[in-house]
């Protein structure tokens, strides 16, 4: 387990409390709560799952099994910005392959990896539902469609 310093521990605790405050601790809110914490912290640290285990009176393994099931949740730390590239057929057929290669070339990391400076994580995802403007990808919460390989550099340059 990664040992967190006190600062981060406080942050995690606050994120958990905020989410519980917002949704209430009932079973049907567990997933919204996990999404909320994941959004706040970028991922779900072990400490957060532990705190939720106490609040929901469920073994931590149960909470972990839910957290690890869903594609939008991460149980490991990610870079400052997460790129999710659509790899489904409709985007693929209209040129997704070339755009993905351009991303890999610019970022110099492979899918599933985080860059050494901790800035980027590159992930693939299934269809995002904007196939008519494919190829498409998301950076954090921003959606980009009709992407041509040459645009990749400009888009990434918008992020600090």
């Amino acid at each position: 387990m990664i040992v967190l310093d006190a600062d981060i521990s406080v942050k995690v605790h606050k994120a958990v409390q905020d989410a519980i405050q917002k949704y209430g601790a009932s079973d049907d809110e567990l997933i919204p709560i996990l999404i909320h914490i994941n959004h706040d912290l970028g991922y779900l640290p072990s400490q957060a799952l532990e705190e939720l285990s106490v609040i929901f009176k469920k073994p931590k393994s149960k909470i972990f099994s839910v957290a690890s099931f869903y594609g939008m949740l991460s149980t490991t730390p990610v870079g400052r910005h997460v790129i999710r590239f659509c790899e489904s057929a409709p985007c693929h057929v209209v040129g997704g392959r070339v755009v993905f290669q351009a991303l890999i070339d610019v970022l110099k990391i492979n899918p599933g990896e985080t860059s050494k400076d901790g800035k980027w994580t590159l992930l693939t995802t299934s269809c995002l539902g904007i196939c008519a403007v494919g190829p498409a990808f998301i950076v954090d919460d921003d959606i980009y469609g009709n992407v041509a390989p040459a645009q990749v550099q400009t888009i990434l340059a918008r992020y600090e």
Partner: protein
């Protein structure tokens, strides 16, 4: 708006809406409608929207209402912007980049002449 309890209440809200529309049209108000579905946004609708708002702010224009609508299914043509001048019928533009948006604001909204090169037909 008060709560709806009968079909008459519903009718009243409808009539209010129709009245409002008529009044707007008669006063020559200009409506700029931006298609803001996810497809549109992914294709750059936010940039178009921003350009439109900038033109309004920089030139201190008034009497222009900027609203949004969902996606109409012409994703190929996104971002889509529609302009209604008073009682005239709606003009629809496709592939509206910020530059095109500025042009539309200058020539159509301000000058009254549609930018023909970007007009699309809804079929």
């Amino acid at each position: 708006m008060s709560t709806v309890k009968t079909l008459e209440d519903l009718k009243r809200i409808r009539e209010e809406a129709i009245e409002k529309r008529k009044a707007k049209a008669i006063s020559g108000e200009v409506q700029v409608i931006v298609g803001m579905g996810t497809c549109g946004i992914a294709a750059g609708a936010r940039d178009a929207m921003k350009a439109i708002l900038d033109v309004i702010e920089i030139n201190n224009l008034s009497g222009i209402i900027v609203t949004q609508t969902g996606c109409i299914g012409l994703c190929e043509k996104e971002p889509i912007v529609q302009v209604v001048l008073g009682e005239q019928s709606k003009v629809t533009y496709g592939k509206v980049t910020p530059e095109v948006a500025i042009k539309i604001m200058k020539e159509h909204v301000d000058g009254g002449k549609p930018v023909q090169s970007h007009v699309i037909t809804l079929t």
